[in-house]
Structures are given as structure tokens and as C-alpha cells.
């Protein structure tokens, strides 16, 4: 077990006008941990995720990230260039809408290869081979390597986005509803891919979802958000099997049995 958390959020608050989207959220994420953030639409989960990943500037609070080799940095104190470099090399970000996380005008192989080049890969043959491997892991036929993601189905695009993000072996991945809006059979494939990768690569991750089943399958810990505040947190199975807060009890009781 490493000495300290890989990500430390301290009292993150973000307002949009007079509305507080996210209020005084603090937590530590430890290496190898997957933290789920659950709550209904409008509870502030995505705003929090964007603050953590440096995509939004919080009004209050700070986010500390333990880099691979340069000690701890204040995510919002970095220059834009350094933060982008970090995002390309040590982080991944899986968007709900794969179109936002992919370059739609570039081939699938190019989408994966671009991330490899960002961490210094130069040998074309190696890059192409690695891209092909990752297409395979995402259960995408090899003969689609040179096709653009515009020709892909929604589920294939999402698996390609995951491959693009994880090919560079990031240390920390942010995921925003990675299975949102997809058919359940397509969802199962993506969950399977994410689960095996998280396990095998010892990833640290923050996963935003409104689906408690997804949270149960993929996360170690849960934070439950309501109206911008964290109302409950704990081990995932504790929160789901023994919910304490009225809002969590309501969420858990609302799951449809299969």
C-alpha cells in the first residue's frame, strides 16, 4: 500500500450564479481504489468530477494530485499547459458521450495511437500493433481499425473511447456515466471491459453514475450526493446494503428488482 492518497479533494465548492452545484466536498482517493459518486440528475456529481479533473475551477477548495514523479501538485494551481500534459499522460477521462472523448474525424487506430504518441511512442509499427491489441480487448473487429468512429455504433464508440483512455496506462481515470444511454447488453460488455482493466491495471478511478448496479459492480467506495452535498459515504456494499441516510435509503429502495 502506498504512503498517501493519489487524489485529495478538500472542501470543493462550485456555484453557478446563486445556485450551489457542489458544496464542501472532501475525500481522499487511495491508489487502486475506485470511488463511485452516485445521486440523481442535478445532484452535482458531474460538476464535482469536472472540478476534480481540472475542467472546472471551483469557487472554493483545492484538489491535490500525487504525480508519478514530481510530488504532489495543486490541480488548479497548474498552468493550463501542464494540466493538459497531465491529462494526456497520467490521467484518463471517459465521457458519457463518446463523441466528446474521441476525435471523430480520425480513424479508430489513430484515436488510440494519438494517446501513445502523447507519452512518447514513435515507432509506427508498434503503435499500430498496440492499437490493434486494444481494439481486440474492446471486442472490436480488427478490420475496423482504419474506420472512423463516425461509422461505429454507440457501444463500439464507448469501448473505443475506453481503449483510447487506457492504452497509455494512466494512473487515474475519471469516468462520467460510462454506460449511460446504452442498451443493457452493450452496457454489460463495457462493464466487463472496465472491470477487468481496473483490476488488472490497478487503476485509481472516480466514477460518476446514477446506476447503483454499475456502482456495485465497479466501485470499492461510494459517495452519495444530494443537492450538491455528500450525504453518505462508505464501502460500496455498506452503503447499498445498510444505507443510513434517508436519501440513500430512498435511492436503494427505488432499484427495480430483476
Amino acid at each position: 500500500m502506498a504512503d498517501g492518497p493519489i487524489l485529495a479533494a478538500r472542501s470543493i465548492t462550485k456555484r453557478f450564479g446563486s445556485r450551489v452545484a457542489c458544496r464542501a466536498v472532501s475525500f481522499d482517493l487511495w491508489p487502486g481504489e475506485v470511488l463511485g459518486v452516485v445521486g440523481e440528475s442535478g445532484s452535482g456529481k458531474t460538476t464535482l468530477l469536472n472540478c476534480l479533473a481540472g475542467r472546472l475551477l471551483p469557487d472554493e477548495g483545492s484538489v491535490g494530485y500525487e504525480t508519478a514523479s514530481m510530488g504532489t501538485v495543486d490541480v488548479h494551481g497548474l498552468s493550463e499547459a501542464r494540466r493538459r500534459l497531465l491529462a494526456r499522460t497520467e490521467w484518463g477521462f471517459v465521457n458519457q458521450d463518446a463523441r466528446e472523448g474521441l476525435r471523430m474525424a480520425v480513424s479508430a487506430g489513430g484515436n488510440i495511437g494519438e494517446r501513445l504518441m502523447a507519452i512518447g511512442a514513435r515507432h509506427y509499427g508498434n503503435i499500430r500493433q498496440t492499437a490493434a491489441d486494444w481494439l481486440g480487448r474492446g471486442e472490436i473487429d480488427l478490420d475496423r481499425l482504419d474506420d472512423r468512429p463516425t461509422t461505429y455504433s454507440g457501444g463500439m464508440r464507448q469501448r473505443l473511447q475506453i481503449a483510447r483512455n487506457l492504452v497509455s496506462e494512466p494512473r487515474l481515470v475519471f469516468m462520467d456515466e460510462p454506460t449511460g444511454g446504452l442498451d443493457v447488453s452493450v452496457q454489460a460488455r463495457i462493464l466487463d471491459l472496465l472491470r477487468s482493466l481496473v483490476d488488472r491495471m490497478h487503476l485509481s478511478a472516480v466514477l460518476v453514475t446514477h446506476d447503483l448496479g454499475v456502482a456495485r459492480l465497479l466501485t470499492h467506495r461510494l459517495m452519495v450526493m444530494q443537492g450538491g452535498s455528500v450525504v453518505e459515504h462508505g464501502l460500496t456494499d455498506q452503503v447499498l446494503d445498510d444505507p443510513h441516510h434517508a436519501y440513500t435509503q430512498m435511492l436503494v429502495a427505488s432499484i427495480l428488482p430483476v
Binding site: M1, W30, L191, D192, L217, H220, D241, D242, Q249, M250
Partner: protein, 239 residues
Amino acid sequence: MNAMLPVLRVSGLNKSFVMHAQGDLALKVLNDVALSVAPGECLALVGPSGSGKSTLLRSLYGNYRPQSGSIRIRHRDSHGEGWVELVGAEPRVTLEVRRRTMGFVSQFLRVIPRVAALDVVAEPALRLGASLEEARRRAEFLLGALGIPERLWPLPPATFSGGEQQRVNIARSLITNYPVLLLDEPTASLDADNRNHVVELIRHRRDAGAAIVGIFHDTVVRDALATRLHNVVLPGAQA
């Protein structure tokens, strides 16, 4: 066995459920529970339905969160061996204890979509650093010993019968040598033959020095495994 020191010590354990949708109705289930279990012992929790046996077992595993009291377990990792307090523990501490020290067999398998039975069983061994080959070999041995037909091994257990799923679950919990095992009705939906296979495997673990706490409604199973009984009584109910 009186020379063995306990590896699990519980004292002053209290657990209530507060149901906010029912006007904050509070139901007290565990009141000042104390017990301890040593290696080679199997403590059977006994009491009528609804008396809190499962709540106690789930609290021991850190699945339910007691309001107060202490659950201490001997835990060994790369830093050495010592007592770990599970009440109020950080999630990563509980997870680490579950990974190395404490296994739980529930009545139902929580299936993982698209994952083969063999890999469901092998997973805990892989997490402890076994090679894929070694983990699969042990998984095959256990699935065989528990009478799961080989043709089912590569299939995801979602479509298996209740009894088959339960045996996959047992195999998954026995693939690593947890020093402490918690069993919630491990033979609930099994026929006599399969029940005997399971009893044999668990008795073997007990005799090899596992400390076991279990709920066994089946008196045959209880008689075969339990070395001591622990009465569980709902607070307010007549003892």
C-alpha cells in the same frame, strides 16, 4: 484446543436500523453482543428467524455498520501481524482484511455479467497474487470437488440453478485459505450429496485451523461442523 488464542474478538456490539421512510422507526437488533473465536473453532449462531443472526454475521464482515462496540480481527500483511478494528474502519482497511483474512459465503451468488464460473472462482486467488494458471487450477479442483459439471465451467453462472450458483459461491470463498470464514447458510439450497461435499470441505478448513462463524439451519450440517453454539436473541425478546 484451549491453547489457541482467539483471532476474532467482538465486544459491546450494538446495531440498530433506522428506517427514515417509516417515520425514523428504529429497530434495535444487536445489543451488547460479545463473542470470540479461535483457530479450529466453528461457532454456530443459533436463534429463531429474525433474531439477528444474519445481521451479526454481516456486521462481522463489515457489510453492516454497527453504531458502537468493537470487532477486532488478527490480520497479517506484508508489515506483519496485528489486531485490526473493523467498527468504523476506513473502507480500504476493511477491503484489505477481506482480501487476505476474512471470507464470507452468502446464500446467494452476486453474479457478474459475462464472467465464466471458473474465473468467478479464480478471482480472489488472482487478487492475492496467484498466477492465472495456478488460480484456474485451484478453481477447477474446487468446482470438481463440489460437483459442478465441467461443461458449466466456461459459462457465466447467471443461468445456473440456485444450488449450482451456491456451490460456485462456496468455491470462490474457499479458493484462498482465509484464517476467518463467515458462513451464512452455506448449504441452504443443496441436495444431500452436494451438502455432504460442502460439509467435508468446510470441516477440512476448520481442522486445518480456520476460525469459523456460521448460520446453519440444517441440524445435520450444524452437528457436523459446530464446535460451540452462540445464542442470538433479539433485544427485548425473552431469552
